[in-house]
């Protein structure tokens, strides 16, 4: 398995070539190297997948140590990769979907001045994600974790001349950093309790060292969860994801749909052995997950920007995955993650193709009846919408049903009910989006309508491939029929199992549940059809009647405004006051919020630095007297 290093080396090579030698390689070269490198990595991942599959069920763990990175006394951290079913699946998703998105970007970013810089960042992101996914210890994973955050900052703020993009990038980075803080402290706690950061050692020692439901186990689990919440945009740290739509659309597809945001779910699955020992933490994960799912879905109902809707839908679907982890079905979570990567990437790319065709227009109220102009995009978008809504043969049905079933089977009836209702909302807003864009009367203004065109083949071909995957992908995990759930069986050895999963409900109930969730989805689609196609004036009337509720949802529950009032405004007022009283120059920081708060505190201290030598001598004397007093008291 020593070839596995290739998987990291290839994107690294891409970064170096695109980054530094772009002038020699030229634009055409870059457009071949960028996607090519990720494609090769995908092939290596496939080879690894088959090799792992060939191994016996319990021996499916290969560690590839490159060299010891930090080694002092008994505390050693190696630069090493861990190949097991979980990491192989993630590698396949990252490189596979990544490759398609790279190809798509060749078309989408074709006439963008920062072309080479874009591909360098994209390759760098793929490299960091692969490091995160294949690390064999917490420290290396943390490095991937930070690097991925850095790349998302660079890519969101790609068009940095636009202030909103730069601010969104900074906001994303800061919120991620807050999450990373929890992750780092959790990592230190693990280091203190286990004395090592190596996954295999930690997870073997976990049952012994940590008492079931004990304080340390719960604390570690919750701290790691804080990191996951930051990265995967759950309540309350989800505010950055909708703003992250400022970046180019393929970026949203790759980072904010398929890969990076799922890092949190991957980390939870990887640490399933720890979470199994902390039922309270699992309960927290489940509630946060389902709450986020519902919360984001409601906001998604009324958004009018095509990418904002998809962003909230991503937050909602991530909520689903966390719910799955919360109820102990880590396998289902990864299964849904994989399916979600397919259809959400397709939705974003489809949206990108619509925006590309409409010359940058993103407001769905100015679209309509585009199916004649963009047939391929329309069909692929339809397949993806069906998949996410969870209609029978498509991918979403199997993965979402798996989650609903495990929630129901493990006794979390409340969670199950909310999840089903969210499924209804998902179906509704997805098809509202679909109908408003592709069907009904065309609200496109005159001269725009003339030059709507289908995207070039280099963009539509990846759409087609993703569409096939969204349609067929589900068959990997067919429930009930023995051996059907291949993905579940494949992942089993790598994931710990909670006992709650044991009471296996009868086959009958599972079939019943499947039928019920199918019905709910169908009702959602029908309602969307009736309101937006058959009688378009109805949504307007409903908006009037429930005006307050409508405004509440439209303004995203005023969360951003609340954050502003809670953190930014008092800080700004504080620093203004400091400024007025001490008449110091106001500091033009790029970051609002926390930055301003700290700055007002800093300018208060500054007064202390007067420049008089005797003042300095005085402060030294104060220090002396305090030190002496301390010792005399001792």
């Amino acid at each position: 398995m020593s070839y596995i290093w290739l998987i990291l080396l290839l994107p690294a090579l891409g970064v170096i070539i695109n980054g530094f030698f772009a002038r020699w390689v030229g634009r055409r070269g870059v457009s071949w190297i960028g996607p090519g490198v990720v494609g090769l990595a995908f092939l290596v991942a496939c080879r690894a997948f088959f090799d792992i599959w060939a191994l016996p069920a319990d021996g499916r763990l290969v560690e590839e140590v490159f060299y010891t990175w930090i080694g002092s006394g008994r505390f050693t951290v190696e630069m090493a990769l861990q190949i097991d079913p979980l990491s192989v699946v993630m590698m396949l998703v990252v490189t596979g979907v990544g490759f398609l998105i790279h190809v798509y970007s060749v078309g989408y970013m074709h006439d963008d001045p920062g072309y080479t810089r874009y591909f360098t960042y994209l390759n760098l992101f793929t490299l960091s994600m692969l490091v995160l996914v294949s690390a064999n210890n917490f420290l290396l994973m943390f490095i991937g974790w930070e690097a991925v955050g850095l790349c998302s900052y660079l890519l969101i703020g790609f068009w940095f001349e636009r202030d909103s993009a730069a601010n969104a990038g900074m906001k994303a980075f800061i919120v991620n950093r807050i999450g990373d803080f929890g992750f780092l402290v959790g990592m230190m706690l693990i280091f203190v309790t286990f004395g090592t950061l190596d996954f295999t050692e930690v997870f073997h020692a976990a049952p012994g060292a940590l008492a079931l439901g004990g304080p340390t186990a719960t604390l570690i689990a919750l701290l790691l969860f804080v990191g996951a919440v930051g990265k995967s945009a759950q309540i309350p740290l989800y505010v950055w994801l909708p703003d992250a739509m400022e970046g180019p659309t393929p970026v949203s597809a790759l980072i904010h749909a398929a890969t990076m945001v799922t890092a949190g779910v991957y980390m939870l699955a990887r640490c399933s052995a720890l979470y199994v020992l902390a039922p309270f933490a699992l309960a927290v994960v489940a509630t946060v997950g389902v709450a986020t799912a519902l919360f984001a879905a409601t906001i998604g109902l009324v958004q009018n920007d095509i990418k904002r809707v998809l962003a909230y839908s991503t937050v909602s679907q991530l909520g689903y995955m966390f719910t799955a982890c919360g109820v102990g079905a880590f396998g289902a979570a990864i299964f849904h993650l994989m399916m979600h990567a397919f259809f959400k990437a397709l939705l974003f790319l489809g949206a990108g193709s619509v925006i590309h065709g409409m010359g940058g227009e993103q407001d769905i109220q100015k679209m309509g009846a585009l199916r004649r102009h963009m047939p391929v995009t329309h069909v692929t978008f339809l397949i993806a919408s069906l998949a996410i809504a969870g209609i029978f043969p498509f991918a979403g049905f199997f993965s979402k049903d798996e989650i609903l079933f495990s929630a129901f089977a493990s006794g979390h009836y409340g969670v199950w009910a909310v999840a089903v209702f969210t499924a209804f909302l998902t179906a509704f807003y997805m098809f509202r989006l679909h109908f408003l864009i592709f069907h009904g009367t065309s609200r496109v203004d005159r001269e725009m309508a003339r030059h709507i065109h289908e995207s070039p083949r280099v963009m539509t071909r990846p759409l087609a491939v993703l569409a096939v995957l969204s349609a067929v992908g589900g068959f990997v995990g067919i429930p009930i029929i023995y051996g059907g759930n291949k993905i579940g069986a494949f992942l089993a050895p790598a994931l710990a199992h909670t006992e709650a999963h044991a009471p296996h409900a009868g086959v009958g109930t599972e079939l019943g549940l499947m039928a019920f969730s199918l019905a709910v989805a169908a009702v959602g689609i029908a309602l969307a059809w009736r309101w937006y196609l058959a009688r378009p004036e109805v949504p307007g009337r409903i908006a009037q009647r429930y005006r307050t509720l409508y405004r509440l949802l439209l303004n995203k529950y005023f969360v951003d405004e609340i954050y502003d009032d809670l953190v930014v405004r008092p800080a700004r007022v504080g620093s203004e006051a400091v400024y007025q009283r001490f008449d110091l120059r106001v500091i033009d920081g790029a970051v609002n919020g926390a930055g301003a708060l700290v700055r007002s505190f800093a300018s208060a201290i500054r007064v202390y630095q007067t420049g008089y030598v005797r003042n300095y001598a005085l402060s030294i004397l104060v220090g002396v007297v305090l030190v002496m007093a301390y010792y005399l008291w001792l």
């Binding site: 007064v607 630095q609 007067t610 420049g611 008089y612 005797r614 004397l621």
Partner: protein
Amino acid sequence: MTVGLAHYLFVSAVLFSLGVVGVMVRRNAIIIFMSIELMLNAVNLTFVAFGRFHHTLDGQLFVFFVMVVAAAEAVVGLAIIISVFRLRESVDVDRMNLFKW
């Protein structure tokens, strides 16, 4: 009452504190420097006193080296004070707050 070690320590403590107050209170750089010299001398006294009661000469040798250092420091210090005077026409320490915050 025979003169014990404590008496010498007390005298040097007083001299040291006077030096410290001198640095705090006066604005003239040279007077500040003299107060620092005073503090150094108080330390010399402490060294010799401890040496005397430990019956070891290390203390006195340390004083020897402190004196040499004080001499070197005086040379450099006064050279700095003079070059400051040349630029600022005054040695008032408070006039020198070029660096606000």
